[in-house]
């Protein structure tokens, strides 16, 4: 009912539109910023209680919303250390002073000391595999450290386990005792000989010669030698001490399956290496020729890191020159109950606020969290067209408000001129 | 979609492979057409190659035997001819002797006819053919029959035998006293060992009793020569030598008669023996000819079997060449067409 009230209402309207234009400006400015989340303005009316015949104009208040939970388009890059999250969640990063915050800006590159740092200068945090597979702290940043990919280590893993699956021919001839490989005579003959590579403690290759020899109905002898002691050309006789182990195998005459040793494990003491357990439970003795189906052993020779790979579940591997892999870190994702209520801080980072709810930690792909995509970045979720439309709309709205104010001012002018 | 997928490489490779094979076959077919035989008998016949090699070898062997049979036949023919001459000589000699027995001829004529007959016999028996003395048995590089001239061992032995028997040399006037019985005894006891006994080999003949043995067929060998050590020849020689040496004017009439009688009977026997020898030789000649004929037939058979196994029908080979040429031409054309058939030509 008062002109002043109307003019104040107009001013509050203009302020509101100015706020909105500010967000539009920010949005347009950051439309190309990786991980940027568009801000928007929400208005709410401010009504002053009025009587039946008297309306007092109120105003409009502005609330700034940030669309943090809205995912931007993924843009693929050629860098393996560029990360994007497809789904919910945030990377946990740390500013140079050590405060952990959340972000979706995943354009990480290693700095001089190998730490992964993004464009805004935040360091990526992860759980180290140094002490075995990590478990995340469900609701805090404890246990996290900066992810570093310093490529200055060599790695050798001794073989501990192996697998040998093959069929031994039931029709093979029995070999008399004196000629069995376990006797290591010059004229020794095995029914079948094969070999496999294992690694000792220092990562050197050790070639194991495995001789299978039929000794009688359903019984075989397996003899394992260190190939380093083999005679040139023909393996027999091996140098003294080359015989690592020998074992009698018994097969079921009906099914052809291995019955003894029970459990089907062959313990092999790798020279200069650890105890190597070869799983031979898959051996069969059937009426076909020797057929090797699978021979495997773990372990690897020493080699340097060739590259870093990051899996969809956040596991970061070092790939060594010999092709083997080792987990270095596991990168967790953090989430809150209401991501849109996070407090935005400079550098596209967010920090939990009272409204956002408590922090939850988890690994990518689990518990409603998104998966991690290596070699991609998340674009800002700004749509220029929308921003421009908003801008036009705000501009018109601002003009309208200014007209309201001008009308108020004109009326005031008339009112003042009443008294001459 | 997948089932009908064909890679460009396999299209061109398949064509190349089939063309290559066809060209290889063409080379073989051309060779077969030209030679009339399979291009590589070993490859085509496999283990049966042994057969054709055996056939070919036997064929050559048969040819060799047929050739050597020609040699044998020629030798036998020469022998036959020589024997014919011997018979002729004996016949002539017999005629003179017969005349002499009837007292028609002069003594010198009779005596000369003996010397002539012996000379003829010597020259015939010493016939050589292809470097071999055909009457020598197997001792073919030595004259089988010694000539009966002065100083020859035969003459010396003859003279010695006469001297020993009668106590005077032949031609001596004392010969006029020789009776028919004496002459007969001389012929039987002194001359017969000289000719029909050991004296023949010692003084007259260098021939062996053994005759040349020849293989006249793959599995047949036979004696293919005649030896001078034949009773007929010996008797003829004996008659001729006796007449030539003893029938002179000094000899008594009874002696002459006994001598001629004996000579006539000897020559008669000789003609019979020689005829026998001639017919034996003829039989061998016949055998050799028959064997050659047989082997020629066999050779034809072998040749035919070789042709059956190794030969190629020239018409078949020719038509195969034509087929292959057409095939290759077609595949060239196809290759060219397929090379044209590319989407690239339509994508300007």
């Amino acid at each position: 009912m008062s002109l002043y009230g109307m003019m104040r209402t107009g001013v509050s309207g203009m302020n509101a539109q100015a706020n909105r234009l500010s967000t539009v400006a920010d949005n347009i400015a950051n439309s190309g910023t990786t991980g940027y989340k568009r801000s928007s303005t929400e208005f709410s009316s401010l009504i002053i209680p009025s009587t039946a015949g008297n309306y007092t104009s109120g105003g409009v208040t502005t609330t700034i919303r940030t669309s943090i939970s809205q995912q931007g388009d993924l843009k693929y890059t050629s860098s393996g250390s560029d990360l994007a999250i497809n789904g919910n969640g945030f990377f946990v990063v740390q500013n140079p002073s050590g405060t952990p915050v959340l972000t979706r800006a995943g354009s990480f590159v290693p700095d001089g000391s190998g730490n992964l740092v993004n464009a805004a200068g935040f360091y990526l945090m992860g759980y180290s595999y140094a002490a075995g597979p990590p478990a995340p702290t469900a609701n805090g940043f404890a246990g996290l450290e900066r992810v570093s990919i310093a490529q200055d280590q060599l790695l050798a893993v001794p073989s501990t386990q192996g697998l040998f699956i093959a069929n031994l021919p039931v029709a093979a001839d029995d070999v008399p005792l004196a000629q069995r490989p376990s006797q290591n005579a010059a004229n020794a003959t095995a029914t079948q000989k094969t070999s496999m590579v294992v690694y000792d403690n220092l990562g050197s290759e050790v070639m194991l010669d495995i001789h299978y020899t039929k000794t009688g109905a359903n019984t075989w002898e397996v003899a394992v030698f260190n190939q380093a002691g083999a005679a040139p050309g023909a393996p027999f006789p091996y140098a003294a001490g080359s015989l690592i182990t020998t074992q009698t195998l018994t097969f079921d005459g009906t099914t052809g399956a291995l019955t003894a040793p029970a459990g089907g494990n062959l313990a092999i003491a790798v020279p200069n290496g650890g105890a190597f357990s070869l799983d031979i439970s898959g051996l069969t003795q059937l009426g076909m020729g020797y057929t090797e189906l699978r021979v495997e052993a773990n372990g690897n020779a020493p080699s340097g890191i060739e590259s870093i790979e990051i899996d969809a579940d956040g596991t970061m591997y070092a790939q060594y020159e010999n092709g083997s892999f080792r987990e270095l870190y596991r990168i967790p994702l953090a989430n809150v109950q209401s991501p849109d209520m996070l407090t935005a801080l400079p550098g596209n980072v967010y920090t939990p606020s009272a409204q956002s709810g408590d922090l939850q930690m988890g690994f990518p792909g689990s518990g409603g969290l998104g998966t991690m995509i290596s070699g991609a970045l998340e674009n800002s979720n700004v749509d220029i067209a929308e921003e421009l439309t908003n801008m036009i709309e705000s501009q018109r709205s601002y003009t309208a408000n200014s007209k309201v104010f001008q009308t108020g001012a004109d009326l005031m002018d008339i009112l003042v001129n009443l008294k001459r | 979609m997948k089932a009908s997928f064909v890679s460009s490489l396999s299209v061109s490779q398949a064509m190349r492979y089939s063309t290559m094979r066809a060209q290889g076959d063409l080379a073989k077919a051309l060779k077969e057409q030209n030679t009339g035989k399979v291009h590589d008998s070993g490859l085509v016949l496999g283990a049966r190659t042994a057969q054709t090699v055996t056939f070919a070898r036997d064929l050559e062997r048969l040819g060799g035997i047929v050739d050597s049979n020609g040699l044998v036949s020629a030798r036998l023919k020469a022998t036959q001819e020589a024997l014919g001459h011997v018979t002729g000589t004996a016949q002539d000699f017999l005629n003179v002797l017969t005349a002499s027995a009837s007292g028609d001829a002069a003594a010198s004529v009779t005596r000369d006819s003996g010397a002539v007959a012996l000379g003829m016999l010597t020259s015939i028996l010493n016939t050589s053919f292809n470097g071999e003395y055909i009457f020598a048995g197997i001792n073919t590089d030595v004259r089988p029959f010694e000539s009966f001239g002065a100083g020859s061992p035969a003459k010396a032995a003859f003279d010695a035998a006469f001297q020993t028997h009668f106590g005077f040399p032949q031609g001596d006037p004392q010969a006029a006293d020789i009776t028919a019985a004496q002459m007969d005894a001389f012929m039987t006891t002194a001359l017969e060992p000289q000719f029909l006994g050991a004296g023949w080999q010692g003084n007259w003949s260098n021939a062996t009793d053994q005759k040349i043995v020849s293989r006249i067929a793959l599995n047949e060998t036979t004696e293919t020569s005649v030896s001078a050590n034949n009773a007929g020849l010996q008797k003829l020689a004996m008659a001729a030598a006796a007449i030539g040496e003893l029938f002179d004017s000094n000899l008594s009439v009874a002696g002459k008669k006994a001598l001629v009688d004996r000579a006539v009977s000897l020559v008669g026997e000789a003609i019979g023996s020689i005829a026998q020898l001639q017919s034996e030789t003829g039989v061998v000649e016949q055998r050799v000819t028959a064997a050659s004929e047989r082997m020629k037939m066999q050779a034809d058979l072998f040749e035919r079997s070789i042709l059956d196994t190794e030969g190629v029908d020239p018409y078949e080979a020719a038509s195969r060449v034509n087929d292959l040429l057409t095939h290759i031409e077609t595949s060239y054309t196809l290759t060219a067409r397929i090379q044209q058939l590319s989407l690239l030509r339509f994508l300007g």
Binding site: Y76, T194, V197, G233, S324, A385 | S8, A14, T54, E60
Partner: protein, 485 residues
Amino acid sequence: MSLSSALSIAQSSIRNTARQTSIVSRNVLEANNPDYNRRTAALTNTPGARAVEIQRAANEQLFRQNLSALSAFNGQSTLFTGMERLNLSVNGVGNATSPATALGKLQEAMQLYSASPSNRNLAENTLDAARNVVRTLNDGTNAIQSFRAVADQEITTAVGELSNLLADLERANNAVVSGTRTGRDVSDALDQRDATLKKIAEYVPISTYTRGDNDMVVLTKDGSTLFETVPRKVSFTPTGVYSPGTAGNKVFIDGVPVNLAAGGNTSASGRIAGMIQLRDGVTVTMQSQLDEIARGVITAFAETSPTNALAPAAGLFTWLGGPAVPAAGTLITGLAGQIRLNPAMDTAQGGNAQFLRDGGANGAGYVHNTGNNASYSALLISYGDRMNAPIAFDPDAGIVASATLSDYSTASIGWFDGMRREASNAADSKQALAVRTAEALSNETGVNVDMEMSLLLDLEHSYEASARLIRAVDEMLAALLNAVR
């Protein structure tokens, strides 16, 4: 959908099309490379439509068939070409230098000689024929043994090449394994590995299986390990000089010897096995047959005493163990290389050819023609008979236990040609199989240029469409911007 995302999608579509085009052009480029497998750029459903995943056409089954066909063909063709070479160097064109032919000639010469034994020219002629028999046997032995030495040399080369190929395989396999682990495109490494496997299959028959991360294990057909993580040692010690009876060294693959294959349609698979069969199988049997022929010749022409008072002694032909005659029915290894013309008869060595007609090269006790008669033919005829009389042969030489010398010599040719024919036929059919499987494999995995071209047309369209889309968005934004005043 916002305009921005429309733009970004069009952008990624352009990027994908570019990637696909590069694959198409690679395919076209390699269309004639038999070791190249067709790649397909498949669009995959990753968030934001990323896109291109490279798939490599492969057919394990056909590839294995091709490998085994390649091994079989290479083994067979090695055997066959080797036998062709051997045939030419031992038996000559049309068996001209075979012992059978030489023996036939000798028999013919003997026949001619026996028809006129007094003819010295024919005696010389017979000696010539005999000399030719000796030369044939000696040359055959030399040819066989030098062939074995060459085969040994070739095995050395093949083993060296195999080791190199295994080293190549290790490199390619490492590339495949590490590439697979890191999710890189390993098509090139796989091509290289397959190509190397094909080359290896030419030398030894192989079977393969793959473990985790595409890691390949290569075994030989008899189950010994050729490659597992690292190549296994293939060892062979060459033997420089071969003489009859020399046993060649074995080829060891990971300590397991490569077996000697048998048969014309050989069980040998791969070049190495083929060469071993040539070196230790075919040539050895062939040598024993020559040796047996040599023994037969020495025996047939052995001199006997007319009264049988003296033991038979080597006649026209003699050997290192002469004047004794080799034991009947027992193979004497290398005899064909030792056989010589008896110097007592050989006029070229100051001998007397007449001994052939008369006997007596071993002393007066052996003289048959005691009368020294020029046309004595019985002995000559008896030699001819003996060549056609059955004698005992060692069955180890691979033919028959009893035959006439002449038949044995032709049976030797029959044995060899039978095997050669089998080898040739088998080589043809195995080649056809190798070609056929290669063709089938190529059809499964190779490039069809026409198809790639039509694919290129599609890509062109899609590129054009994306570009149009970008222009449209651009125009829309421009319109919007015009609205802002």
